[in-house]
Amino acid sequence: MTGAAVYSVVQRDLLYAVIGTGVISLILSILFLFLQAPDVALTEAAIGVALTTIIFIITIRNTVRYEEDSNRHSKPASK
């Protein structure tokens, strides 16, 4: 889980980083199950894995995919 967190922070391709956060949520929900919290595990599996990931992916589709891209686009801020 810590590895997935490090991966999703270090990775410069934002799409892969978002999939890394999905993996974090998946492992987190399994840990919740071990900690005897099935309600929370169900919520985390549904929200963290499915919905958060899809919202991030929609945002990436509407903006840029690579982290370096934001440096290259050195357009002066229009207005």
């Binding site: 099935p38 309600d39 595990a41 169900l42 919520t43 549904a46 929200i47 499915a50 919905l51 899809i54 919202i55 929609i58 945002t59 589709r61 509407n62």
Partner: protein, 231 residues
């Protein structure tokens, strides 16, 4: 330079957090003020609800849940008003590629099963793990599947807002009836039945079903707004 500063800050923060946490005995009871015992005995004894988390979320701290549902509603509203860019034409969703026939047929097959699973989860919220939030999210996931695989699948905003408002009105009016009957908001005024029956717990299943519809409608609207976004 900034990185070194942040790293040292994080090191200090981590050491202090660890110092606090290593005083806690893992696996032994930490909160000793009796709240746990009260909830664990009052839930099966008075309310006849098997799932104690449900009875905390819906009944003991039900007012918080009303606030939480309101926050979700505000998030949906804020998202659609921030992203508002003039009226977009219907069916003009930006899909990168059209999906194949297998995906379309498969998601059509899966969609009723997902909706059924969501409804099952929030109807049995007081007996098994699950409840309104989980069930609502599962329903929203089903709609997400349909929206992703069909390019021209439409969800009516009018239907969504009507379902959402009706569910919200149900929640608030049950709370107000409880206030009139028993003196506290969300007082359990129905007959509570027998533990582990489907019809038990008084108003708790009704409220959780309302919460399920409300969360499902809100999240579906949120996803629909986000998916209709186009550069």
């Amino acid at each position: 330079m900034k990185k070194i500063l942040v790293l040292s800050l994080l090191a200090v923060f981590g050491v202090y957090l660890a110092e606090v946490l290593f005083k806690i005995d893992f696996g032994h009871q930490f909160f000793l003020n009796g709240v746990k015992d009260f909830y664990l005995t009052a839930s099966p004894d008075k309310l006849k609800v098997a799932n104690v988390v449900t009875s905390i979320v819906v009944n003991f701290r039900g007012f918080d849940t009303l606030g939480e549902v309101t926050v979700l509603f505000l998030a949906t509203t804020a998202m659609s008003s921030i992203l508002y860019k003039g009226r977009h034409k219907l069916g003009e969703r930006a899909v990168l590629f059209s999906s194949s026939r297998i995906v379309m047929t498969g998601s059509k097959l899966l969609f009723p099963a997902i909706i059924l699973l969501g409804v099952y989860v929030f109807v049995h919220g007081h007996l098994t793990p699950g409840g309104g939030f989980q069930g609502g999210v599962i329903i929203a996931t089903g709609f997400l599947l349909m929206l992703l695989s069909y390019q021209d699948y439409q969800v009516s905003h009018v239907v969504l807002s009507v379902v959402e408002s009706l569910a919200g009105i149900t929640f608030a009016s049950i709370g107000l009836i409880g206030l009139l009957n028993g003196g506290t908001f969300l007082h359990n005024f129905l007959h509570t039945g027998v533990l582990n029956n489907l019809l038990s717990g008084g108003v708790i299943p009704i409220i959780y079903i309302a919460v399920g519809f409300k969360v499902g409608a809100e999240l579906t609207g949120l996803i629909y707004t986000a998916l209709n976004e186009k550069d």
